[in-house]
């Protein structure tokens, strides 16, 4: 009996060891099956700390299958760790046929497929939807198209302030850095429990609000690389006026205006703070204000968050830096067995805004319903719970603006994007480039393989730029040492950086 028990225990343990690492092997079927890692921001933006209902996901999957003949599995990202999870999935060999990312990072490693032929064959609606500059940003100098665009040039970091508080203080919405400073001082004095200025270092879509919202007020080129008179591309820290910008941020930090946790914020914390109504001025990604605005209003009756008309300005002009059409898009893995299926699914969503609407908001008559389908007008029936947009692969302004609604729940967000204004001639706030400065190297692709080869100290330079600037803002390092900091950058290879970046810039301009 004892021997039987020992044998049984051994088998059980052995089975346990192996069972923990096994994966289901999909059945061979004629229906193409693709797996898409949806890290395009829709799930993170919608409340990715929860998950969509399995029943709704099954319903969506069945709908896509019935419409396209393709079975689509979606992998949801971990909010705040989207790229790390993607890299783990790719490195572990898990089937991921498509995902969102910066194409140069993957193309240089032969990890993705060029899409020119596939798009020509199956993607006419996709090609029609995006402007030429978005496709240009997704293409290399040889004309290879590496992904489906995700972005157009966009005003992603407007300074939202509490207009109701400004009015209460007898002020207008601050339009200049000086006026903003007066407003922040008034907030500090009159609203001691509030957060005068919420700014972020790293946010959604690579947003770095503290720089992108303010740096342009003190520098000619804003928060971006710039072209020096010697014809070389240099990092933003070397710009004339950048030190003044840092000094101002340091003054604001010391005065208690900037929220002290700015270097370690994440989307959830930012949105919770904004929804609490405590934030007097917001310099984080715009959707942190616009998406949960209905909740913010419900929590704080009378709240009114607006950005200055025409944009914030400073001694050097417009303060905001435009987010250029980036290299971020939907990419198809080089290991994908059915790349045509991915394009066909995308074409299905791009071919009709109504299809995208279902993918974005879930099955009709659940969270929303059409009020006039012929005019693509809809209304929201209830708060967005149960479905986070897992199948919304056609995210981006072209499709998001194609439908419209009068529902108050998303009015602020849709208003900023100009939802429903396609063809009307109206320039939505999100596309009003007159409010900011376009980076001089917008559209230039800096190849990570070349960077790794030509700039041995690249990682050190990146860390030093990030770390020391935070220290200067927080006062952990005196601004009087700014020049010494620049010298340190040169000592660890900034010249390599400048030469390499300049070569890549010139080869593409």
């Amino acid at each position: 009996m004892k021997k039987v028990l020992v044998l049984f225990t051994s088998l059980l343990l052995t089975f346990h060891v192996f069972s923990s690492g096994t994966q289901e092997v999909g059945e061979t079927t004629a229906t193409p099956k693709i797996v898409i890692y949806n890290n395009n921001g829709v799930i993170s933006g919608a409340g990715g700390e929860t998950a969509s209902s399995p029943e709704i996901l099954e319903e969506m999957k069945a709908w896509v299958l019935s419409e396209t003949g393709i079975e689509v599995e979606v992998i949801a990202p971990v909010v705040g760790q989207e790229s790390q999870k993607l890299n783990l999935l790719l490195a572990s060999g898990t089937q991921v046929d498509a995902f969102w990312g910066n194409w140069p990072d993957f193309a240089s490693r032969n990890m993705i497929l060029p899409l020119n032929d596939l798009m020509a064959q199956y993607g006419s609606s996709i090609e029609a939807a995006w402007p030429e500059e978005s496709f240009a940003a997704m293409s290399d100098t040889k004309g290879n198209l590496w992904g489906i665009p995700r972005t157009t040039p966009f005003m992603g970091n407007p300074l939202y302030v509490r207009a109701d508080w400004a009015k209460e203080f007898g002020m207008d919405i601050p339009g200049t850095i000086d006026e903003l400073e007066d407003y922040l001082a008034a907030v500090k004095k009159n609203k001691p429990d509030s957060i005068p200025l919420l700014a972020e270092m790293k946010g959604k879509h690579g947003s770095s609000g503290i720089f992108q919202t303010f740096a342009g007020a003190f520098t000619k080129y804003g928060a971006s690389n710039w072209l020096d008179s010697d014809g070389k591309i240099k990092p933003q820290e070397l710009q004339p006026g950048y030190r003044d910008f840092i000094i101002k941020m340091n003054e604001w930090y010391k005065a208690g205006y900037i929220y002290p946790e700015f270097a370690s914020l994440n989307r959830n914390i930012i949105r919770d703070l904004i929804k609490s109504g405590k934030v007097a001025a917001n310099a984080t990604w715009y959707s942190n204000v616009t998406v949960p605005y209905a909740t913010t209003e419900a929590n704080n009756p009378g709240i009114d968050m607006e950005f200055p008309e025409g944009g914030l300005t400073g001694p050097m002009g417009k303060a905001e830096t435009i987010n250029p059409a980036g290299a971020e898009g939907m990419l198809i893995s080089a290991k994908c067995e059915h790349p045509e299926a991915v394009i066909k699914v995308m074409e299905f969503f791009y071919s009709n805004p109504a299809n995208h609407q279902v993918a974005y908001m879930g099955p009709e008559n659940n969270l929303w319903r059409w009020t006039d389908k012929s005019k693509l007008q809809f209304e929201i029936l209830k708060d967005r719970t149960g479905y986070l947009g897992d199948y919304a692969f056609a995210m981006g302004l072209p499709m998001e603006r194609a439908v419209s609604t009068d529902s108050p729940q998303m009015a602020k967000h849709f208003g900023y994007l100009g939802v429903g204004t396609v063809g009307s001639g109206v320039t939505p706030d999100g596309l009003d480039y007159s409010r900011g400065k376009m980076p001089v190297d917008a559209g230039v692709v800096y190849d990570p393989q070349i960077i790794e080869k030509e700039i041995p100290g690249y990682a050190d330079i990146q860390r030093m730029r990030e770390e020391e600037v935070i220290k200067f803002i927080m006062g952990a390092r005196p601004v009087s040492e700014w020049d010494a900091f620049i010298d340190e950058l040169y000592s660890i290879g900034l010249n390599d950086w400048i030469e390499s970046y300049t070569r890549m810039y010139k080869s593409q301009r």
């Binding site: 021997k3 020992v6 044998l7 225990t9 051994s10 343990l13 052995t14 346990h16 060891v17 192996f18 690492g21 790229s83 790390q84 890299n87 783990l88 790719l90 490195a91 990072d105 490693r109 032969n110 990890m111 957060i195 270092m201 929220y259 002290p260 946790e261 270097a263 370690s264 703070l273 405590k278 080089a334 290991k335 990570p448 790794e452 041995p456 100290g457 990682a459 050190d460 860390r463 030093m464 990030e466 770390e467 935070i470 220290k471 927080m474 952990a476 660890i492």
Partner: protein, 317 residues
């Protein structure tokens, strides 16, 4: 194998195959563990080859073998990095702090719990001290953030009420390590007492009785009976801890740190994380990780040597 008394076990004189046949069921019990280590610890060691090549894991496995060797290029790049010494200093500083506080605090707590005479109070203290151990790192980090946030956090409020000037402690390099180590110690201290409490229960009560007759007070009893009585457990636990000290604590660091405190918080593992999973420099990250493994091996051998020389239990002869 030898017994504590130095006598050789009878089984050691038998040929291996005879042992295997005689105790086949006992050896069978070892099989799952051996397979586990083979599959998940030894076979993956082949991946270390990546450190000596320029390979991305997205390529197929055969590429790992067929691609060209680059020698010690990635090791050289790490060692010549501007932040190499900073990362090394942080790694050993954090390991040292954990060694001091996370290793010795449980010994101290075990000694204190051992002095509690009321059985129910003793059990209550033990149970409460174990509880934080079951928190995940994510929850632990969430608690720390909530306690320290400048937006109505408890700690800043307490500091302010005491007339202090609170700062964001997680963003200040002067306080970061204190916060990190305190959080880790708080979570692990109770669980760490288990081995010592077990060892304490094995000490012969007659020794204490004799000491009391000789006039030894509680402190002297602790010094001359209790501590020597559990010294073997302390030595073994010390060596075991040394072997993993460079591996532990990185999740907590990763969850709590930010670029503003890199100068005191960036350790080898967080550096590997950023290089590997954020910048996708897998060969480089593997080389750095391998470098750390060599350091850990050196630490184990050194501590084992010291333990043996000082007459304590050692793991290897």
């Amino acid at each position: 194998m030898s017994t504590l008394s130095g006598e050789r076990s009878p089984s050691i004189n038998r040929p291996l195959w005879r042992n295997l046949r005689k105790d086949k069921f006992l050896y069978l019990l070892m099989l799952p563990g051996l397979l586990y280590f083979l599959l998940f610890r030894y076979i993956p060691l082949m991946g270390t080859l990546v450190a000596f090549k320029d390979v991305a894991p997205f390529d197929n496995a055969a590429t790992i073998l067929s691609s060209q060797w680059v020698g010690l290029k990635h090791f050289s790049a790490f060692i010549s990095s501007h932040y190499f010494w900073n990362i090394m200093k942080n790694t050993f500083a954090l390991a040292g702090l954990r060694m001091v506080f996370e290793f010795f605090c449980p010994v101290l707590l075990a000694l204190l719990i051992n002095e509690v005479r009321n059985r129910y109070l003793k059990k209550t203290i033990q149970t409460i001290s174990y509880m934080p151990y079951f928190l995940s790192n994510i929850v632990l980090a969430g608690l720390v953030f909530q306690l320290l946030t400048m937006n109505n956090g408890v700690i800043p409020a307490v500091v302010e009420s005491l007339g202090g000037n609170p700062v964001y402690y997680l963003g200040d390099s002067r306080y970061f390590r204190t916060v990190l180590v305190s959080a880790i110690v708080w979570r692990n201290i109770g669980w760490g007492t288990i081995v010592y409490l077990a060892a304490l229960s094995g000490i012969d009560p007659q020794l204490y009785e004799a000491a009391r007759i000789d006039g030894a007070n509680r402190f002297r009893q602790t010094i001359y009976i209790t501590l020597p009585g559990i010294s073997f457990a302390i030595a073994i636990m010390f060596i075991l801890r040394i072997s993993v000290i460079l591996n532990q604590g990185w999740e907590e660091t990763l969850l709590l740190y930010n670029p503003g405190v890199y100068s005191v918080a960036d350790i080898i593992d967080t550096y590997v994380w950023r290089m590997g999973l954020e910048q996708m420099r897998y060969s480089f990250a593997t080389a750095v990780g391998f470098f750390k493994s060599l350091l850990a091996l050196a630490l184990v051998l050194m501590s084992n040597y010291i333990a043996r020389k000082s007459g304590q239990q050692s793991m290897y002869r």
